[in-house]
């Protein structure tokens, strides 16, 4: 054995910056404490806690991971652990492994307090300090706001007021659930309050649609395939139709939904996100600000609808009594907890225009509703008809369509014209359908698993930036204002149908709605 002992200098300089991490595609996130405000609420129980368990099961949580629940209810740590266990056992997508669940629960704590009360934050700060001390290192802190939206500003203010917004040697982030405001004014004010306390890089505004694997796949299909992008413009595309149909009704959420309506509930966030991903220019890099910057350009390019033109661009509807899936269902206004005087829309159809070189003249139709004939989320891109058809008397030739189905199954379908076998040249439309969801030898994670992991990592790509959410509201607010000024009730449609007849009026001549 050699007795040479080189000096302890410059050895690390010879190595790459993070040598063991290179080549590993799934390095766990840095050690963190996740603080859930609204820890006993419905979202936490149904989505967040099961998502955390599944991340733990797969070994995807940080090396050191602690969870602190904050809520008004009086609970001990053990009492909250019981609630967490029950939520995971009931809602996890996989049966929990007892040893993993027990180990996870050992790292669960609870702080009692109202979201606007100083005591809660003093207790929280004390607990966070204890966890850092036990870990022997400052842990990253992720504050997850899973509360009623009216508390968002107050919680962020308290986080700042108690010195929890920044610290040396570790990162602090705040995840804010939707809805981010209920009006443009509220959203602007909330952004102002949040950004008084936090830097934008610390703010993760959730839109769980972006966590869906299929939505991310849209980016791959567009920007990694030469097949689509060359025709992705006004020269080849006649129209775009984005549909998010739901067969379900209120599912016990009348209190929230009657105050929101379909436009705020789905269009302001999810469907505008789909429109952006479909319409945006290729980003220079697959990085958070590159992608979000391109989406903001699209949102800002959406033409604002003048109030006197609103009837040609927007339709609101409300379901009446009908039958869905063979069950007789009541009209919206007869649903439990819906006031008889409600004017809330359960259906929206919009015709939007994206004023860019690429999309000038191409109508973007958006449609969503409850109690429609079935559950379906899809984007249908209709191509321009061929300029000349040589097959005289050959039958109907419909324009090609590319349909990306997001729910309930992940499909891409391309509608083509094909020759009917036989001696004549008769053409008929056929579809070439394929399902790509499970081709890649892994099960897609739940959207919340992906989004929580990204928040723990600090990757904001799938979260909404301040200017993005403001641009979304700038599109929506004129419609809300016009409807608020219009005393007439939403157009009625029968539950189980494809929406009100009046949706036809916003279509350009020759266009038609796809069947839901």
């Amino acid at each position: 054995m050699s007795t040479d002992t080189p000096p302890e200098t410059s050895a690390s300089q010879a190595l790459p910056a993070d040598p063991l991490a290179e080549g590993l595609d799934q390095l766990p996130p840095p050690s963190s404490v996740l603080v859930i405000f609204g820890a006993t609420g419905d979202l936490a129980r149904r989505k967040l806690l099961p998502a955390l368990y599944n991340l733990a099961h797969e070994g995807s949580l940080p090396e050191r991971f602690q969870l602190i629940g904050v809520s008004r209810g009086e609970l001990t740590d053990d009492g909250y652990r019981d609630e967490v266990r029950q939520a995971i056992e009931r809602f996890s997508r996989r049966p929990p492994d007892a040893t993993v669940l027990d180990a996870l629960l050992e790292n669960v704590f609870y702080v009692t307090g109202g979201f606007e009360e100083d005591d809660a934050y003093r207790g929280l700060a004390q607990r966070l300090g204890q966890l850092d001390a036990a870990a022997g290192q400052p842990l990253n802190r992720i504050f997850y706001l899973s509360t009623a939206p009216r508390f968002f500003g107050a919680i962020v203010g308290q986080i700042g007021g108690h010195g929890l917004a920044r610290r040396e040697g570790a990162d602090t982030r705040v995840v804010i659930e939707k809805p981010f405001g209920t009006t443009e004014t509220e959203a602007l004010e909330l952004n102002r309050r949040v950004l008084e306390v936090l830097h934008e890089e610390q703010v993760f505004r959730i839109d769980h649609y972006l966590g869906k694997e299929t939505v991310q796949n849209l980016l791959a299909l567009r920007f990694a395939n030469g097949l689509f992008e060359p025709i992705w413009n006004r020269n080849h595309i006649a129209s775009v139709q984005i549909t998010a149909g739901e067969a379900v009704g209120l599912e016990g959420r009348a209190g929230y939904y009657d105050g929101a309506g379909a436009l705020r509930d789905l269009v302001q966030n999810h469907l505008l996100q789909l429109l952006c991903i479909l319409a945006m220019e290729p980003p220079t890099a697959f990085a958070a600000d590159d992608i979000r910057g391109e989406k903001v350009k699209i949102l800002r390019a959406i033409e604002r609808i003048d109030r006197d033109q609103m009837h040609l661009h927007a339709v609101r509807g409300r379901y009446g009594a009908g039958a869905v899936g063979g069950d007789v269902v009541p009209a919206y206004v007869n649903e439990p907890d819906v006031p008889a005087s409600s004017t809330t829309e359960t259906f929206v159809a919009l015709r939007l225009q994206v004023d860019t070189w690429r999309w000038a003249g191409v109508p973007f139709y958006i449609r969503t509703g409850k109690r429609l004939s079935r559950k379906l989320t899809e984007i249908a891109v209709t191509l321009q008809p061929v300029p000349h058809l040589a097959f005289h008397g050959g039958g109907t030739v419909e324009p090609n369509q590319i349909v990306f189905t997001i729910q309930p199954d992940e499909h891409v379908s391309i509608k083509l014209a094909a020759k009917v076998p036989g001696s004549g040249m008769h053409l008929r439309p056929v579809t070439m359908d394929f399902s790509y969801g499970t081709s890649f030898l892994s099960t897609s994670p739940e959207a919340y698993e992906r989004l929580i992991t990204d928040a723990l990592r600090g990757d904001a790509t799938l979260f909404t930036r301040a200017d993005e959410v403001e641009a979304q509201w700038a599109v929506i607010q004129p419609i809300l204002d016009a409807w608020a000024a219009d005393a007439s009730p939403p157009d009625e449609y029968a539950a189980g149908s494809d929406g009100p007849q009046s949706q036809q009026r916003i279509l350009r001549d020759g266009d038609h709605w796809r069947a839901i």
Binding site: L15, L24, G136
Partner: protein
């Protein structure tokens, strides 16, 4: 509620073209019943002893949604002279949000006499334009040689050999002889350990410790020494350790002591690892209920000296369920589709370390 429907075709004394024709017919029938065909990503060709085929089939079936798009299972019978084949198309439909999948299993009974010309039998059956993974868990090397022109990747387990050196040498030889990638189940078993070691030393405040590592002990299940050597090979390659004579030295020339310890934990792969720095600080990971038990001890003489929590010995659990051999196989199948994370380099380095030590 999930439902699984199977469509089956079976025939004795069949030629490969007949199997391929039957598959296309089943596919047309399937398409008539369901509107969408699955996009396909991977062929898996598996060669097994007929008597032990069921265990392999169970392992593959357990991968569930991770199963390859098309699996071709060649069951080798000692005296068989004619081929027989069975094709099963399984459609897993789910009424909920989850996606639906359809997998295709082609089972072909062959004899030993067919092994040298398996390529001509299997060629018509593989999906074109998607990668093909080749696996011979019962050591049918002749089959590998015959089929490797069809494959882009070979799946093996370097722990299958009686000696770790033999298993690693076989993987090296396969890479050297053919332009194929290798996915090694022993390497896949080490993935969580590598991830956790990498994560432990990823914070900038801890990266300097990598340059001060003076001793590494890897504890492994008896029979899994190859996995232990691969982890050492990975560490050495990443940290630029070199074998000098009978010693291993780091990038600055300090000696690094490497040690393998056999430890029966009842699970193939690693049992634990301890990384010790020249200052006496050490970081250890060991299998534990609910995940891995991590232990950190500060440098000698530092413990408690400053009253700082960072100076205390600590232990904690890193959460994670055991993946089991099914999970390892699933990860290996997926590895075929994503870039290798350093196996080739780790393998070559591991082999040099063995020679050195």
């Amino acid at each position: 509620m999930s439902t699984v429907a199977h469509t089956v075709w079976q025939q004795d004394d069949v030629d490969p073209a007949g199997v391929e024709e039957a598959m296309r017919a089943l596919e047309r029938e399937r398409f008539r019943q369901r509107s969408a065909l699955p996009a396909r990503a991977l062929n898996l060709v598996t060669v097994v002893d007929a008597d032990d085929a069921d265990e392999v089939v169970r392992r593959l079936a357990a991968t569930g949604g991770n199963a390859p798009s098309r699996s071709i299972l060649l069951r080798v019978h000692p005296d068989r002279s004619r081929l027989s084949a069975r094709v099963t198309l399984a459609a897993d439909g789910d009424a909920g949000d989850r996606t639906s999948a359809m997998n295709e299993l082609v089972t072909v009974d062959v004899g030993l006499r067919h092994l040298s010309r398996l390529e001509s039998i299997v060629d018509p059956m593989v999906l074109t334009d998607v990668p093909t993974l080749l696996w011979a868990p019962h050591d049918h090397r002749g089959a590998i040689e015959s089929l490797v022109p069809l494959a882009q990747t070979v799946l093996l387990d370097s722990s299958d050999a009686a000696l770790a050196t033999t298993g690693l040498d076989e993987a090296l030889a396969l890479q050297a002889a053919h332009a194929v990638g290798v996915v090694d189940l022993s390497w896949m078993r080490t993935l969580p350990w590598r991830q956790r070691l990498a994560a432990a030393f990823s914070p900038p405040s801890r990266r300097d410790e990598l340059a001060r590592i003076g001793d590494v002990e890897v504890r492994h299940q008896p029979g899994s020494a190859a996995a232990a050597w691969l982890v050492l090979g990975w560490l050495a390659a990443r940290l630029r350790w070199t074998a000098v004579g009978d010693e291993v030295r780091d990038a600055a020339g300090h000696e690094v002591h490497l040690r393998l310890v056999s430890s029966d934990v009842g699970v193939a792969g690693l049992a634990g690892t301890t990384v010790t720095s020249r200052t006496g600080a050490h970081f250890a990971l060991d299998r534990n209920p609910g995940g891995l038990r991590a232990r950190y001890a500060p440098p000698e003489g530092a413990a408690g000296s400053g009253g700082d929590a960072a100076d205390r010995e600590r232990s904690w659990t890193i959460l994670g369920a055991s993946r089991g051999e099914t999970g390892v196989l699933s990860a290996a199948l997926r590895r075929t589709l994503v870039p290798d994370d350093g196996y080739r380099e780790a393998l070559a380095t591991a082999r040099r370390l063995i020679q050195c030590t």
